[in-house]
Each structure stands twice: as C-alpha cells, then as structure tokens.
Symmetry: C2
Subunit: 196 residues, 2 copies
DNA sequence: ATTATCTATAGATCTATAGATAATGC
DNA sequence: ATTATCTATAGATCTATAGATAATGC
C-alpha cells in the first residue's frame, strides 16, 4: 500500500484528535472547520486537503474513535457474566473520560435525523452492539450461567439504552448521577434476575 | 392585511409549534430562524418581534413542550406500581409521536455542553424527573408494594435512562427496536425484583 | 399608544474551490 | 511526481437591529 508522507499521517492524526474535541463540544452542525484548523495550526484550506469535506471528517472521527473503543468493548467470545462485567468496566472507564463520552452523546443525539451525516454510522454501530451483546447473553444461557429462554435481544437493547441514558444524565449533572455505580447496580440486578 | 396584536397570542403559538419542528429536525445550532419564520408565513424580523432571540425561542419551546408533558407524566401522588404503569403508558404514547420525542433526544444530546442554551433547562428537568420518580418508588415501599430498603434513587435514574436510551435507538432504527415493548419488559422485571 | 409586521442591512460567520508555492519521495 | 500548505475568494448562509408603515385597543 501507499505508505505516505510521514508528515501527512501525523497531521491527519492531530486533525482527528482536534476534530473529535470540536465535534464533542459543538456537535456536527455547530463545529467549525476553521476552529479545528486553528487547533492544529493549519489554515482551513490546508485542513480540507487532508479531509475533503466536513462530512468526511466527521465520519473519519467516528471511525477513529470507534476503533479505539472496539478493543475495549470486545466481548465477541466472552461468556454472559463475563461480558456483563466487561460492560461495567467500560462504564467505569468512561466515567474518567467525559470528553470521549460526550462525542457519542452529542453525535448520537444529532444523528437521529435521517439526513445527518452520522445517521448511517450510528445505525450500524447500534446494530453491531446489539448483536454482540445478544450473542454474549445467548452464550451465557448455553453455558448455564443464565436460565434458558431469556429474551437476549430485549436485554441487549436495555443494556445499551442504560449505558447511553446514564451517560446523558451524568454529562448534564455529574455531581448528581454516579453513572458507574448505578450501572453496576443494574448489572447486579440483571444477573440475579437471569440466574437459572 | 388584517394584522394586529389581537393575533399576537395565536401567532406565538404557531411560532412555537413551527420552532419545535425545526429544533427537533436540526437541533438548536442547526435550526434557522428564517426557516421557522417561513413556516408561519412571517418575515424573519417579524419572528424576532415575538421572541427576542434564538436562545429565548428555544427556552420557550422547551417550556411549552414540557408543560404538555408534565400533565401526562404527573405521578406526584401515584403509588409505586401505578407510577411505573404510568411510565409505560407514556412510552407507548411517545412511540406514536416521533416528532415530539425527537425534540428531546436532539436537545438533550446537544445540551450536555455547558454553554448550550438548553443546558440549565435540561438539568432542572432531569432533577425534577428523578425526584418525582424516586418519591413514587418510596411511596410504593411505604404502601407495601415494594420491599423496604430499595434504592429508590438508583432505580429512578435507571428508569429515566432506560426511557431516553431506548428513544435514541428507536429513533435511529425504528424497525429494529420496539421501544414500548422493551420498556414494558423492563418495568415488569423491575416489579418482580422489588416485590416484598 | 401599543403592537405587529415589513424591508433593508450590518456584521459575522460558514464551507469549499482555485491557483500558487514549497517540501518530500521515488 | 506527489503531497502539503498557503492566500484569496465565491457564494451561502446566519442572527440581530434600525427604521418605516399598518393594524388594533383605549
């Protein structure tokens, strides 16, 4: 493959990091290419040499962020309880990086409108997360960790909804909502409920 | 043209309804006063005669929408199980009015940033909802519907998070997520769990 | 007198493109 | 030869204000 000019790759990384902050703070529509360019000490036209449009930059940022996340959230082979404990760890980690969490909260909120450039991305992401989580719960049932006949799909929807919903409340009012503890309690209750 | 201040209140109502749609579709930052004005057949300057700035218009829309909602969501005297069933009905109703739901999803997402004009509004709203819900759960325990010593505050956080989180998933991918059914299942599980 | 509405416009944005120049890699 | 970067700018926005005119209420 084309191993590009080293300065270009480094610059792209810096742009992605700066764009992530800008999108997280202002959403897609409120973000400004000029401000992102300023953060990486580049002219606005110079920025558009690396990412040809604002839309493409957003998608690149989301993929970039997602890639980091996929590793932490890798439950493709974990058992049921193991996967749930993994989620709790993700939430605990998230409670230490509000900036990254904010990107997803802001963009997911905006992306409910079909014409938003992140709409398709968000849909694919949720489908993937739901499928992975449901599969982990099914494995849990097969292994006898959970009782048979559980509604894995519904519980997967709920786990993801709980993570997202608590994030919003926590970001808006951090002192009032202990995101990690409240989520952990949910998982504990769920394990009790699903016990064979 | 017959125009005068007898029409003022009616015009304000129309503006609020049009602004609600515009904010729901585009968020605060993406919304355009000119487009809202167009929807109510008014010049953009004419619109600003009724609401002096875009910020004030957003707050007015949120209050307007909230007022309608407060009645449906009135659980200030209901018992525990009654309140939970009320929430299920709210979610069922919401699943028939995606436009209204979208306003809250979009604005709540944006409003996580402290400088957003809806930030304070969102914080107050969540505090109020959490307090109301926790109070209803406490009443449920007092009346013997739920076991004593339940963590009402944590369950209140979770109920609200679940509603919000499912809304996002449902708005992004309506065919894949049966919001009302999944939420109803959560409430059923919760009632089982909290049984004395 | 007060309210409702208009046109016109100031003053800031914003994204994206064109075209020139400089740096880097093969 | 390709990539990186710049300045300049077109062309669309956007919000808010000023000042004029018309309709309504006292």
């Amino acid at each position: 493959m084309k191993r590009g000019y080293a300065t270009g790759e480094a610059r792209k990384e810096r742009i992605l990091a700066a764009a992530l902050m800008e999108f997280a703070e202002n959403g897609y529509r409120g973000a400004s290419l000029a401000r992102i360019a300023e953060r990486v000490e580049l002219s606005q036209a110079g920025l558009l040499h690396h990412f040809r449009s604002k839309e493409r930059l957003l998608v690149a940022v989301l993929d970039y962020r997602d890639e980091l996340d996929v590793r932490k959230f890798d439950i493709t082979s974990a058992g049921g309880i193991e996967a749930l404990r993994g989620l709790v760890r993700v939430v605990e980690y998230n409670s230490r990086v509000p900036g990254l969490v904010q990107l997803f909260s802001v963009i997911s909120g905006e992306a409910v409108t079909p014409d938003h450039p992140g709409h398709e991305w968000a849909r694919r992401r949720y489908r993937r997360l739901r499928a992975q989580m449901a599969a982990a719960l099914h494995r849990g049932a097969e292994r006898g960790e959970f009782r048979a006949g559980l509604d894995a799909e519904a519980h997967a929807d709920r786990l993801i909804a709980m993570m997202d919903g608590l994030q919003t409340q926590w970001l808006i009012d951090p002192d009032q909502v202990d995101m990690a503890a409240v989520f952990s309690g949910y998982v504990d209750d769920l394990i009790t409920l699903l016990r064979p």
